[in-house]
């Protein structure tokens, strides 16, 4: 039967209705709005939801889904970073130095994405989703503050200070090389899967380099846009950045995170975070399952 050889026919999403462009744009915008809203409330990036939404629900080819997700990741990063950078939490030199590692990784990741099979990408995506869900469910252990500076960090001018309620606190950066290696890996995942890989960047800053948590998250957010830009060029050249998908994804994620930032102060998000992590875990298992069956 000829139909079975058509990858598009095998790649049916949950929604089997034939939609017109207006309806599809509406559905994608709604999903992206939700992704941006939940992403800004829970800290799990919108890119983690966009790709499962487009591939599993709407049956879109995973390369196009990744292209759209990458652009939305840039939107979220720039939007959030513009607020944090002004508050003085992010460390611009540390971010720039680590961007050498993440952009190189992103270029490697995007080059790989064009070579490996879509099923392998789906499986890896599922695994990363599962990890992100688990990492957000488990309580974060506070890293002990030892105060011996890495000599490399001081010669690289990475040590800095940040505002705390009682004034300004200075901090040292530890294990620069170890942190940079994890950053290279985070960049690869970003280019390969179209995610911000903020969870992995925070590991490098928080656990390995022992940067204060607030500085870790904001500097990581600041870097995500540049990392994504390093791989998006390749997706664009290969024709994987589709304006018809990118438009509702970007506008939806931006509106969602804008709304989230308005609601965020004073909202109790831990329950939402748990529910959301479970949703992500289910999506992850579905993604891995489809990847193994070869129907993605």
């Amino acid at each position: 039967m000829k139909r079975n050889h058509d990858p598009a026919a095998r790649r049916a999403g949950f929604l089997r209705l034939d939609m017109n462009i207006l309806e599809l744009t509406g559905v994608v915008f709604g999903g992206a709005l939700l992704a941006g809203l939940i992403g800004s409330l829970t800290g799990l990036g919108g890119g983690l939801i966009i790709t499962p939404l487009l591939t599993l629900v709407l049956g879109v080819d995973i390369h196009y889904a990744i292209g759209a997700a990458l652009v939305s990741v840039i939107a979220t990063s720039c939007g959030a970073a513009s607020a944090y950078v002004r508050e003085g939490f992010s460390n611009i030199r540390l971010g720039m130095f680590m961007e050498v590692a993440t952009t190189t990784g992103a270029l490697i990741g995007a080059s790989l994405a064009l070579r490996v099979s879509t099923t392998a990408i789906a499986d890896l995506f599922g695994a990363v989703l599962l990890y992100s869900a688990a990492a957000s469910l488990w309580p974060r252990a506070q890293s002990a503050a030892a105060d011996s500076a890495d000599p490399a960090a001081s010669s690289l001018e990475l040590d800095s200070s940040y505002p705390i309620p009682s004034g300004i606190a200075s901090y040292h950066v530890h294990r620069v090389v170890g942190g940079a290696s994890v950053m290279l890996g985070a960049g690869m995942l970003s280019g390969l899967l179209g995610i911000g890989s903020g969870a992995f960047k925070v590991i490098a800053f928080d656990k390995i380099m022992r940067v204060p948590f607030k500085v870790s998250t904001t500097t990581s957010n600041f870097m995500i846009g540049v990392t994504a830009a390093a791989s998006v060029g390749l997706y664009l050249q290969r024709g994987y950045i589709d304006p018809g998908l990118g438009m509702p994804v970007v506008l939806g994620v931006l509106s969602g995170s804008f709304l989230g930032a308005r609601i965020l102060p004073g909202m109790k998000t831990s329950a939402l975070r748990d529910v959301f992590a479970i949703v992500i875990a289910v999506l992850a298992i579905e993604m891995i399952f489809r990847g193994l069956k070869g129907t993605i």
Binding site: A75, R86, A230
Partner: protein
């Protein structure tokens, strides 16, 4: 640029970068929305073709093609221009940081930033490993 002073502080640098990022996102979102309205008004009723992708047409894969199509009012190209503006925003941030580090005479970070900019340019030019 007027903002540059020989004593450009890190704090001032951060404020300028914050504004730059915000302006980029607003400009990109506005352009994408305008293109979206034109696109939906023209082809909103057509059947969505997203299950069968054949890659974007050559014009939508490169800056020059997008610019020329967008100037003739094509909805798809204007949306794509908006996405390109968004992609350009973090690149502009890196370029701005380069200028700022140069003004601060921070040679080490001029080199670091140049390296990041080189990787970005290589990727935008379609280079891959």
């Amino acid at each position: 640029m007027r903002h540059f002073e020989t004593t450009l502080s890190d704090r001032r640098l951060e404020a300028i970068i914050g504004n730059l990022l915000r302006a980029g996102v607003v400009l990109a979102a506005t352009t994408t929305s305008i293109g979206g309205v034109i696109y939906l008004a023209h082809s909103g009723e057509s059947l969505a073709h997203y299950r069968l992708f054949h890659g974007e047409p050559a014009d939508l894969r490169q800056v020059r093609g997008v610019l020329s199509d967008a100037s003739s009012g094509g909805g798809l190209a204007i949306m794509q221009l908006g996405l390109l503006l968004l992609i350009a925003t973090p690149v502009a941030r890196v370029a701005f940081s380069l200028a700022a580090f140069a003004v601060q005479r921070d040679r080490l970070y001029v080199v670091v930033t140049l390296t990041v900019l080189a990787v970005l340019t290589f990727s935008m030019a379609g280079g891959h490993l």
